[in-house]
């Protein structure tokens, strides 16, 4: 069975090009990808992760609100008793990235990261999981 990955866009920005590229690259590498679309609230994303039994949740935010929205989403996901790998992507400065990891985001990728690196990270996590 392929891993199930949610690609979600929390926050108000409507630019979904990057998220869609990530989604498509994942599909091309054999993952089953559920894309939620734009303007998702943390609780919407959490319920999606629950209903879809997501193995991985990838958050993508370009609006600059990642410091509030990513940890809030991670908190809600885990509050539901779920333990997916949570990855943050978007326009995230290095300092923020470090902080986000402390706040419960498993891996953070800054601007210009190739989707292939996201896939590598998922593979590494998959192997360590068993």
């Amino acid at each position: 069975m392929s891993l199930k990955v949610i690609v979600a866009k929390p926050g108000l920005d409507g630019h979904d090009r990057q998220a869609k590229i990530i989604a498509r690259t994942l599909k091309d590498h054999g993952y089953d990808v559920v894309y939620t679309g734009i303007r998702q609230t943390p609780s919407q994303i959490a319920q999606t992760a629950l209903q879809e039994s997501a193995d991985v949740v990838i958050l993508n935010c370009l609006s600059g609100a990642h410091m509030e929205l990513f940890p809030e989403t991670a908190r809600r996901v885990r509050e539901l008793g779920l333990a997916p790998l949570i990855i943050g992507t978007g326009v995230i400065p290095d300092d923020d990235a470090e902080e986000l990891v402390k706040m419960g985001i498993d891996i953070v990728f800054g601007p210009g990261t190739s989707p292939l690196r996201v896939i590598e990270a998922i593979k590494t996590w998959e192997q360590s999981r068993i």
Partner: protein, 307 residues
């Protein structure tokens, strides 16, 4: 993690967490899955209306399910949606894009949506999907919608499986030639002409009406716009009417009987596959080996019965 009993109790209480977990278990197909399945099929079956939604790609199936679900949720119903999307034959991966059309309805305690990748089994209707329907029934959902991959041979399966089959069409897509092709036109219980907000939609609607007159039992044709939420009630009422009629005439019992049969066959196939593969030796002529094996199995069955 808990036991199967916890899971059953959670399901009966309608917990979404337990429902998702149960589906995950049957998808993974381990030993827990066997326990769970024998439990949920061991109890008296309680049926919920199962509505199959099919039609050409992009006709608005998911959007329509979205507005219909919203209508039912507003009336206090619990709604489950299972949506199947095709798997890329090259990578084995998939984009499960139906959910996006209902995402605005969340968070919601009464709506459960699950996306499935069609891994090629059963023309879209894998045993996991049928088992999921059973889980949703178990969890007390009032309506279950099943959206399947575009038009093709596979949709013929949905009519032996769903209680009511809705075919979603949209202007332009449904020119006469497409109407005449494909058995699905004869198997659908309700035709929906969606996107009636589009220019010239009336022409397509008229063409569909003309086509339907040629059928032995013309299904109702419901014009809608999922985009503008127009005539959602028309769709709901048409579904209800067909459902009631089928229930009263005994057709529904037959559909459910055939659902059980399809499941039974698919389980036996799955369970036997391993045994069969073990029996084959590379030096055998495959056809003869197969015929011999079946002969052997029949002999075993006869012997078992006579004891």
């Amino acid at each position: 993690m808990g036991t199967i009993e916890d899971l059953i109790n959670g399901l009966k209480a309608g917990s979404q967490w337990h429902l998702a977990r149960a589906i995950n278990i049957i998808e993974k197909d381990g030993p827990e899955s066997e326990l769970l399945l024998s439990r949920i099929y061991g109890e008296v079956e309680k049926f919920s209306p199962l509505i199959g939604i099919t039609g050409f790609g992009g006709a608005g199936k998911s959007s329509l399910v979205g507005v219909v679900a919203e209508y039912l949720l507003d009336r206090g119903k619990k709604v489950g949606v299972l949506a199947v999307d095709p798997t890329s034959p090259r990578s084995g991966g998939s984009i499960l894009g139906d959910r996006i059309r209902l995402q605005h309805l969340f968070p919601n305690e009464n709506l459960f949506f699950r996306s499935y990748a069609n891994k090629g089994a059963f023309g879209g209707l894998s045993p996991v999907l049928m088992e999921s329907v059973r889980l949703l029934e178990f969890a007390g959902f009032d309506y279950i919608f099943l959206e399947t991959v575009g038009i093709g041979q596979s949709e013929v399966d949905i009519s032996s499986f769903a209680d009511v089959v809705v075919l979603v069409l949209s202007p332009g897509l449904g020119d006469e030639i497409q109407f005449l092709k494909g058995g699905i036109m004869e198997l659908a219980d309700v035709f929906v002409m969606n996107k009636m907000d589009m220019p010239n939609a009336n022409i397509s609607l008229a063409a569909l009406e003309a086509y339907a007159r040629l059928l032995d039992e013309p299904p109702p044709i419901i014009p809608t716009s999922a985009l503008l939420k127009e005539n959602v009630v028309g769709v709901v009422e048409a579904i209800e009417r067909v459902y009631t009629h089928k229930a009263e005439s005994g057709v529904l019992d037959k559909v459910r009987q055939s659902r059980r049969e399809v499941l039974y066959v698919s389980w036996v196939e799955k369970m036997l596959k391993e045994v069969i593969a073990e029996q084959y030796r590379p030096d055998e002529v495959p056809y003869r080996a197969a015929a011999d094996l079946v002969k052997k199995i029949r002999r075993c069955l006869r012997e078992a019965e006579s004891h």
